[in-house]
Every structure is written in structure tokens, then in C-alpha cells.
């Protein structure tokens, strides 16, 4: 991907898609949530805006359709519901896939146009479908147009008025024919094609292109900009706009114009625009009578009688009469199953009065799209873009001032703009004159002097006759050059890099490993100091080494902390997938579930976060599958029909704690026991001995699953034992608590980071061992006489708490070292929720290590968390007290 703008767009779009998806879910739960709809709308809007910078028309179109739909929701014209949310989520998913594709290949897949069209059509169908319902009061926007609009949506411009020039080119018979089609619900399309000024240079023949559109009814070609003097004409610039009327459906038009899609607009034409009545004038009471009767039928909605009246009068009126022709149109209009009342009324009036007043369209139709005179967008296409733009800017100031009237606050910026424009064009004389006008305006407290001065500049002295004009040909190509890099720039990377850096994870991991090695290597220095003192008897040298060690130690720790920060990710990384997942699963299972997230900002090491995804997913699925009841069951149990799952994260000291709470049926220890016996996980006697809590813990035993039927969610052959294994592998703990009928809480506690472990080295039975620092509460020396025997077990009292004592050497099945009368060195540890004192031979220093798990034949040995290297090269075994005790 060479385009830095695209590289910036991709992560932005992904983030916005995520925001939109979670906002939609919020909206589904609470359709009146204004914050959510605004959030979603803005996110989608921003994607649309930015995507317009790239060659991804299909993506822009689909997002545009979604935005339109959301706009309706935002303005309360459309009610959001689950199927709408489904459609929108699907569309956003599709956009997400395209973003992936853009990242891989910098282009959309070949089928994108088709897919976008299909999905956008679906979205717009909802738009059309509900659009009419609440606005039934608008008579002219009747069902005629709603039908083609729904079936054949126009992404750019929905309904167009027909330009008179085009209508004039349509033979009378073709007019009536088009009218018949339009009334019958078959859209007649107006294609407007504004080819680029430079289109001849890329091999486009615009006339040939527009002629490819099938079923053409009429074609009009007009100048985009008024033709200037002949000597100024540049025959190599295309200054043409094409308007084509066609009976072809939209996909065929798009297919024919597929290379020019960004330069065309397609709109369906309202039937009333085709009405063209000619003929001789006539008069007589018969017409008045008809008008009265017909109006009454129309008002009562009695279309059949109206049709009869029309046909009766037609049979007696002369075919050359103007009014008779009005009847012809009226008859066609009435052919439709649901005639457009506004149109019919206008035609009835025409036949009655001998005059056709164009139907006042209820919502005034949008002005013709391409190039209304002061639209700034069309300006740069023309050769003298700069002059045109200047005109347009000045005209805008004129208009704005005219509307605002005298307002000193407004005048200031207009003054700056006008002055700057003239300065930029090098028209110093005009500038002085305008400045004088502004002075006068301030004095007179009226905008009149400025308005007239502006008008004079705009009309009187044509801007392109000034001395600035010769500079123009040079200016334009330069501007193009400057702008060109937008499409495929390489240079501005330096500018981006200054702000944030996107780094491959592998590089961070490498850095992490290197720092780990550094931390371990620095541990060699204290040994070196000791050797300097003991072997070489250089106390001085030893002290210097120790000083250096202190510096390196501090730096290494800071470095480690810094790199840890880089690796920290918020829990939201994994939490964010759950709203969508829970919603989809709940719908599949026919359950109603409210998911709440708490503490998403809690951060933990990337490794932990990444490893946490699957276990968490499993717990949540399990809860959905087995824990939460169906709405009926819940009602029967006197609970609210909607169940609740809470995902909660928080930091506790050096660990991150994640809880999954549900208010479902809870775990029934009786059922668990029975199931465990049936599956042969435990025997009958063992089952009887278990406490309820211990029975609940059975769900973590391999091969355990109580689900009566295997659903497609949790029953995939993976039991909760996998959760336990994964979490313990990360150095974490899992616990479950449950109350029957009230719910279940699963709690995962994981270390914030797992790369470096701080340990304390202890001596026992003549060897050195490591004990993870996070298990050690404190170290005490206990006088022999304070060690008491309770039930044959050694204990001592520490601050009024009885702490059981264990000898590490015995736990390791090693011979006791006779210690005589010296005080016992006791390591007070917190293991499995209780305090234990470990009697060891001696304490040694603390140390940061990278644990290497036991490998090969040693993997089976319990009680050891892993090994590490000491500074002098010896291997240190690090104990796993949880297993050992």
C-alpha cells in the first residue's frame, strides 16, 4: 500500500465501523437513544466523506445508503428495529471486508459494484417503504413514484425535474408513451452526464459513451459553461453536458456507463413532467360539468367512475381539441392501479379550464444537479477556473451580505475575503475601491455601498480582463502538480511519522525478548562483584561493579516498564466483540439478553489480552447456552424476561480481574454431581463427599458437559476445562460462584504482564530455589520457642493470626538441614486463598527473571513453575507453590 492517505484511512475506517456497530446495538436496545444515533450517524458520515478520496466508489455508495437510512432514523422518519439493525450491520460488515481488501490490494474486489448495488438497494427499500407511510398527507408525492423509487433506488438523486430542452426533443407520441410507463410504475430515467473537461485526453468519446445507454428516448447536449468568444475557445476541452432520457432500468444504465459512473447522475422522472398538451381551444358547459363531476369522484376516491366519465367525454370530444387531449393524458394517468391524486387533479382541472397548471409538487423537487450558476464545484473544470472561482467566492459574499443585511460582525470577514481575493488576483485598484466601500458601509451602517461595489466588480469590470490573466496558464498546471500526489503520494510519510508510529508486533516482541535477556544478563554483575571481592580481594573493584550494577538495573527496569506500556492493550480489545456476538447468539437461541460492559479501559499485556479472548468467549457462550433461561422460563420463575450478562474488568494490584456475571438459573450442584457420576468423571462416594462449591468446580474437569443436547454454541467438544487450562497457563486463576436460581459469576484473575517474573531466591536443603514474589506476603525470622505444635502440625502466631508452618525441604522430599537453635527463616506466602509459612534455610536476593517452562521429560514434574539462569550460569528452579502445597 503506497498511498499514505489510504494507510491512514484504513485504521480510521475500522475504528469508525466498530463505533457504528456498537452504537447500532445500543440503538437496538433503546431506539430513542439520541447519543447513540448521533454517534453512529457521524461515524458512518465520516467514513463516507473520507472514502470519497479514494477509488472506492462501491464502498462510498453503500455507506451513503446506510447514512441516508440513519439520517431518516435520526430525524424520526424511520423507526429502527432489529431487521434494520441486521441490514445495517451486514452492510457495515461488508464495508469492513472491503477495507481489508483495500489494505491488501489497494482496490475493491471485482464484484464490489454489484454487491454495493444489491445491498444499497435493500437499504433504500426500507427508506422508500416507510418514507411514504408517515407522510401520507403529501398528495403529489403519491404511490406512483414510491413504487419505482423503492424498486429502483437512485443513490445520487432520487427524482429529477425534466429540463425543458430535453422535453422539447421528445416527440409527442414518445412523451405520452413515457408518461404511460412512468404512471405504470416503470421508471423512466434521466441520465445527466458531465464529462471531465480533459476527457478527450484519456480516450473518452462522451457522445459515444452516452449512446451506449439502451432504450434511449431523447438526448440533449448543452454547453456546460456559456460559450465564450471564439478566439478563447479551447477545442481540446470538453465543455458539454449530456442529458438522456431512457426507459432502461438503472442497472442497465450503470452497466453501459460503468466507466463514467462518477460523472453521471441517474434519476427517475416524475410522470407529470411529461405532460404536454396541444390542440385547438374550445369551450362549452360540458367541460364545466365534467370538471365538477370528476372533482367529486376524485375527492371520494371513486376512480372507476372517474374513468367512465373520462372515457364518455373522450368519445364525444373532437380529437384535435386541446381539452380532448388533456383527457387523453388523464386517461393514461388513471390507468395506474393507484393514480397520483395530485396529477389527476391537475389534469381534471386542465380539461375543465382549458389550461394546464403544472402540479405544485409537494416537496419542491431538488434543483437540477449539475452546475447551477454559482456552484463552486463546477468551476475548476473550466479553463479559467481561478477566475471563475474568484467570481463564485465574490458572488457568495454578495449573496450572504444581501441576506444578512447590515451586521458589523459579518462585514469584517467579508471585507477580509473580498480584499484577499482581489489581492490574490493582483487587482489593486479594485481593492482600494472596495475598501473604501467597506469604510462607507461602516459609517452608514448599511451594506448597500459594499453590495453595489461588489456588483460592479462582478458585472461591470469582467474579472478575466485584468492584468492577472496572463499568469493563469502557468498557475493552473502548477496547481495540478501540487494536488496530484493525493492519488498516489509517497513523500509525506515523515509528517505522519511524527505523530504516531505503526509498528509490527513482531518487532515489539523482539524488543521485549532482548530486554528480557538484558535483565537476566545484568544479574551476572552481583556475582562478578562477589568474585572481585572474594577471589581477587579487590573490595574497591567490587564496590564499583555494584555501583554500575545499580545504574544498569535501574535503566533495565525503566526500559522494561516502558516497553510494557507499549504492549499494554485495553480489555476493550476483547470486550468489544461481545455485544455483537451476544446479540447474534441470543437471537439464534430465542433468548433476550442485555449485555453490560464495565471497566473496558483496564489494560493488560498484549499476550494476556490475546490469550484471554477464547476462554472468555467460552464462558460467555456457556452462560448463554446453559445459564440463561428462555423468556418464558424466566417469567415463570418470576424474573424479568430479559436476562443480563455483565462483563467486568478491573485491576487488582498486579493482576487484572475479569468477571462474567449472569442472572440465569445458576448451577445446580445436585445435577452436576449426577452428571459427573453418569459420565464417570467421579465415583458415587466421592460425589457424596463433595461440598456444593466443590461440586460446582467439577465443571472444570475434562470431559464434563451437562448440556442435555449439544447445541451449536458451546457443544463443540470443548469443555470448561479448556478455560481452566488456558488461564492457568497464563499464570491466572479461575473461580466460579453460583446461587441456584439467581445466577453464576465466573472470575478470572490474570497477571498484568507475564514476560518478566520477579522472584526471591531462597535456600532449602543446601540448594537454591526461586519463589515468585507475587506469592510472598512477607519474610520473618521466628524464634524456635515461638513455634507451637497444634494437632501435630507446626504453627506460629503472626500478628494474632495463626499461620501453619511447612518445611520446604519436606515438601520437596529432601533431607532436613539441622539448624540448631537459630531462628527459623519463614517465608509467609499467600497460596490458594490462605496464608502459609514456609520454613526455609535462608533468604537470598530478589531477582527479575524470564521463566522458561520445563521441557521434554521434565514437563511431568509437578511443583515447578519453570527454570531460569542465574548470573553465574547455574540453573535455578522456580517453585509453583500452588501445586506444591
Amino acid at each position: 500500500m503506497t498511498n499514505p492517505l489510504l494507510a491512514r484511512f484504513i485504521p480510521e475506517a475500522r475504528e469508525l465501523l466498530q463505533v457504528s456497530a456498537s452504537g447500532l446495538l445500543k440503538l437496538e436496545r433503546n431506539p430513542t437513544d439520541e447519543t447513540a444515533i448521533n454517534e453512529v450517524f457521524r461515524a458512518v458520515h465520516t467514513i463516507k466523506g473520507s472514502s470519497g478520496l479514494f477509488d472506492a466508489l462501491a464502498l462510498t455508495r453503500l455507506v451513503h445508503a446506510a447514512e441516508d437510512l440513519l439520517g431518516e432514523v435520526r430525524s424520526d422518519a424511520l423507526q429502527i428495529d432489529s431487521s434494520l439493525v441486521d441490514m445495517l450491520l451486514d452492510s457495515l460488515d461488508q464495508v469492513g471486508q472491503w477495507i481489508d481488501e483495500l489494505e491488501r490490494r489497494s482496490a475493491l474486489p471485482a464484484d464490489a459494484d454489484g454487491v454495493a448495488h444489491r445491498m444499497a438497494t435493500q437499504l433504500r427499500q426500507r427508506l422508500g417503504a416507510q418514507d411514504d407511510a408517515p407522510d401520507g398527507g403529501e398528495p403529489a408525492d403519491g404511490p406512483h413514484e414510491a413504487a419505482p423509487l423503492g424498486a429502483d433506488p437512485a443513490p445520487i438523486e432520487d427524482v429529477a425535474t425534466l429540463p425543458p430542452a430535453l422535453l422539447a426533443r421528445l416527440p409527442a407520441a414518445a412523451c405520452l408513451d413515457a408518461f404511460r410507463r412512468a404512471c405504470g410504475g416503470q421508471a423512466v430515467h434521466l441520465v445527466r452526464y458531465a464529462p471531465e473537461a480533459g476527457c478527450f485526453f484519456n480516450g473518452t468519446d462522451p457522445l459515444q459513451a452516452i449512446q451506449q445507454v439502451p432504450e434511449a428516448l431523447a438526448l440533449d447536449i448543452a454547453a456546460a459553461e456559456p460559450w465564450g468568444p471564439l478566439e478563447d475557445l479551447d477545442p481540446y476541452q470538453c465543455n458539454l453536458h449530456f442529458s438522456l432520457l431512457t426507459a432502461a432500468p438503472r442497472p442497465e444504465i450503470e452497466q453501459a456507463m460503468r466507466y463514467e459512473l462518477d460523472q453521471i447522475t441517474i434519476a427517475s422522472v416524475r410522470p407529470r413532467d411529461f405532460v404536454r398538451i396541444t390542440g385547438e381551444a374550445s369551450d362549452g358547459p360540458i367541460w364545466e360539468d365534467f370538471r365538477e363531476a370528476a372533482s367529486a369522484f376524485l375527492a371520494a376516491g371513486r376512480h372507476d367512475e372517474l374513468r367512465q366519465a373520462v372515457s364518455a367525454l373522450r368519445s364525444v370530444a373532437g380529437p384535435t381539441l386541446w381539452r380532448r387531449q388533456a383527457l387523453d393524458w388523464l386517461e393514461v394517468a388513471l390507468l395506474a392501479a393507484e393514480p397520483d391524486p395530485g396529477l389527476v387533479a391537475a389534469l381534471v382541472a386542465a380539461a375543465g379550464s382549458g389550461r394546464f397548471d403544472p402540479v405544485p409538487a409537494a416537496p419542491a423537487p431538488a434543483a437540477p444537479a449539475p452546475a447551477p450558476a454559482p456552484a463552486p464545484q463546477s468551476a475548476p473544470q473550466a479553463a479559467d477556473s481561478r477566475q471563475e472561482l474568484a467570481r463564485s467566492v465574490l458572488a457568495s459574499q454578495h449573496r450572504a451580505l444581501e441576506q444578512a443585511g447590515y451586521d458589523a460582525d459579518r462585514l469584517a470577514s467579508v471585507g477580509t475575503v473580498v480584499g484577499n481575493v482581489l489581492l490574490s488576483l493582483g487587482r489593486d485598484a479594485d481593492r482600494t475601491a472596495i475598501q473604501a466601500a467597506f469604510e462607507a458601509a461602516r459609517e452608514a451602517r448599511s451594506v448597500a455601498p459594499v453590495l453595489s461595489a461588489l456588483s460592479a466588480v462582478l458585472d461591470g469590470t469582467p474579472l478575466h480582463r485584468t492584468e492577472a490573466a496572463p499568469a493563469l496558464p502557468a498557475a493552473l498546471p502548477q496547481a495540478f502538480e501540487e494536488a496530484a500526489p493525493v492519488a498516489g503520494a509517497k513523500e509525506p510519510e515523515g509528517r505522519i511519522a511524527a505523530k504516531s508510529l505503526k509498528v509490527d508486533q513482531a518487532k515489539i516482541d523482539l524488543l521485549m525478548n532482548l530486554i528480557g535477556e538484558l535483565v537476566v544478563s545484568k544479574n551476572a554483575l552481583p556475582f562478578l562483584a562477589k568474585r572481585a571481592e572474594e577471589t581477587y580481594a579487590s573490595r574497591e573493584m567490587s564496590r564499583e561493579i555494584k555501583e554500575q550494577y545499580a545504574v544498569i538495573d535501574r535503566l533495565a527496569q525503566e526500559m522494561q516498564g516502558a516497553i510494557m506500556q507499549v504492549r499494554m492493550l485495553p480489555v476493550s480489545e476483547i470486550f468489544d466483540r461481545f455485544p455483537r456476538l451476544v446479540r447474534d447468539l441470543a437471537r439464534k437461541l430465542g433468548k433476550r439478553i442485555d449485555l453490560a460492559l464495565e471497566g473496558e479501559d483496564t489494560a493488560a499485556d498484549k499476550t494476556i489480552i490475546e490469550a484471554l479472548g477464547d476462554p472468555l468467549l467460552h464462558i460467555v457462550r456457556n452462560s448463554l447456552d446453559h445459564g440463561l433461561e428462555s423468556p418464558d422460563e424466566r417469567r415463570a420463575a418470576g424474573k424479568s424476561a430479559t436476562a443480563r450478562i455483565l462483563l467486568k474488568a478491573r485491576q487488582e494490584a498486579d493482576s487484572v480481574v475479569i468477571e462474567v456475571q449472569d442472572n440465569g438459573r445458576g448451577i445446580d450442584p445436585v445435577r452436576i454431581r449426577a452428571a459427573a457420576i453418569a459420565k464417570g468423571v467421579i465415583g458415587q462416594e466421592e460425589a457424596d463427599r463433595l461440598s456444593d462449591q466443590e461440586a460446582i468446580n467439577l465443571i472444570y474437569r475434562p470431559g464434563f458437559s451437562t448440556a442435555a443436547e449439544i447445541s451449536d454454541l458451546s457443544g463443540r467438544g470443548v469443555g470448561m476445562d479448556v478455560v481452566l487450562t488456558t488461564v492457568e497457563k497464563l499464570g491466572g486463576q479461575v473461580s466460579v460462584s453460583s446461587r441456584l436460581g439467581e445466577g453464576t459469576t465466573t472470575r478470572l484473575a490474570l497477571p498484568l504482564s507475564m514476560a518478566v517474573t520477579r522472584i526471591m531466591i531462597v535456600e532449602a536443603a543446601g540448594s537454591l530455589y526461586g519463589v515468585p514474589m507475587d506469592m510472598i506476603v512477607e519474610t520473618v525470622r521466628v524464634p524456635r520457642e515461638r513455634i507451637r505444635m497444634i494437632k501435630k502440625a507446626e504453627t506460629f502466631v503472626l500478628r494474632e493470626t495463626i499461620i501453619p508452618l511447612l518445611r520446604l525441604s519436606r515438601l520437596l522430599h529432601l533431607p532436613d538441614q539441622p539448624r540448631g537453635e537459630a531462628d527459623a527463616a519463614v517465608l509467609v506466602c499467600h497460596v490458594n486463598g490462605r496464608r502459609v509459612g514456609l520454613i526455609i534455610d535462608n533468604f537470598r536476593e530478589g531477582m527479575d527473571v524470564i521463566l522458561k517452562p520445563l521441557e521434554g521429560v521434565l514437563t511431568g514434574i509437578g511443583g515447578y513453575a519453570g527454570t531460569t539462569l542465574l548470573g553465574d550460569g547455574r540453573v535455578l528452579l522456580v517453585l509453583d507453590l500452588r501445586e506444591l502445597l
Binding site: P4, L5, R8, F9, E12, A13, E39, R42, H45, T46, K48, G49, S50, G52, L53, A366, A369, P372, P376, Q377, A379, P380, S385, R386, L389, A390, V393, S396, Q397, R399, A400, Q403, A404, D409, R410, A412, S413, V414, T416, V417, G419, N420, V421, S424, L425, G426, A471, A474, L476, Q478, A479, E482, A483, A484, P485, V486, A489, P492, R495, I496
Partner: protein, 125 residues
Amino acid sequence: MSGKRILVVEDGITMRMFYQDVLGRAGFTVEEAANGVEGLEKALLGGYDLMIVDINMPKMDGYELVSRIRREPSLQAIPVVTISTEAQDADASRAYAVGANFYIVKPADPVLLVETARLLTGAQP
């Protein structure tokens, strides 16, 4: 180099980069704000020759921002261009009504953008 300073107020990060790129190359010094509130704060620090304001933004939208700018005595003389994806006349009229000096439809043509910036700041090409 024109040396003119432009404040771009736009919530889309890609669009901001686009402005940086296009206007930066044309010799303008481009500074950014990600929403209306930030835009107003930066604008009040002063020194800008032009503001380019997106309409649809969180916290404070473009209309609101422009109308506040026009109420600030120190900012009344600064030219403001509003940019929006909406091509409807009503949107442009609203922008002019609150005090914008020009209205551009997004995605803006780079040439148009540069030329507009030059004209409104009085910079020479």
C-alpha cells in the same frame, strides 16, 4: 511559500491528513483541530489567515462553530470556508447564514481547495 496559516477543523483523521497534504504542498502552514470545541480554542489563540470547517462534527458542529467565531470580536475578520458532504443548497445557505464565507462540497477537489485557500488568504500562486 505563502506563509499563510490555515486551521482545519475536521473530525475525520483521513480528511485532516488530506488537507495537510494538499494545502501543505501548496505552501500553507496547516494546523488541525479534531472537533468544534478544539477548533474554537485553537482559533482563539489567534494567528490564522483562514479556517476550514467541517460541518458534521462531534461536540460542536460546524454551524455552531462558525456562528461562535462570528461572535468573537477577535475572530470576526477571519475568512471561514465550510466543507460538507451535503450538496444541497439548504446546507450551503445555512452555512452562509451563520457566517461562513464559502461552502465546498466534500470530497473537495484538490485544485479547488488550493485555489480557494489562495483567494481567501490573498496568497499568490
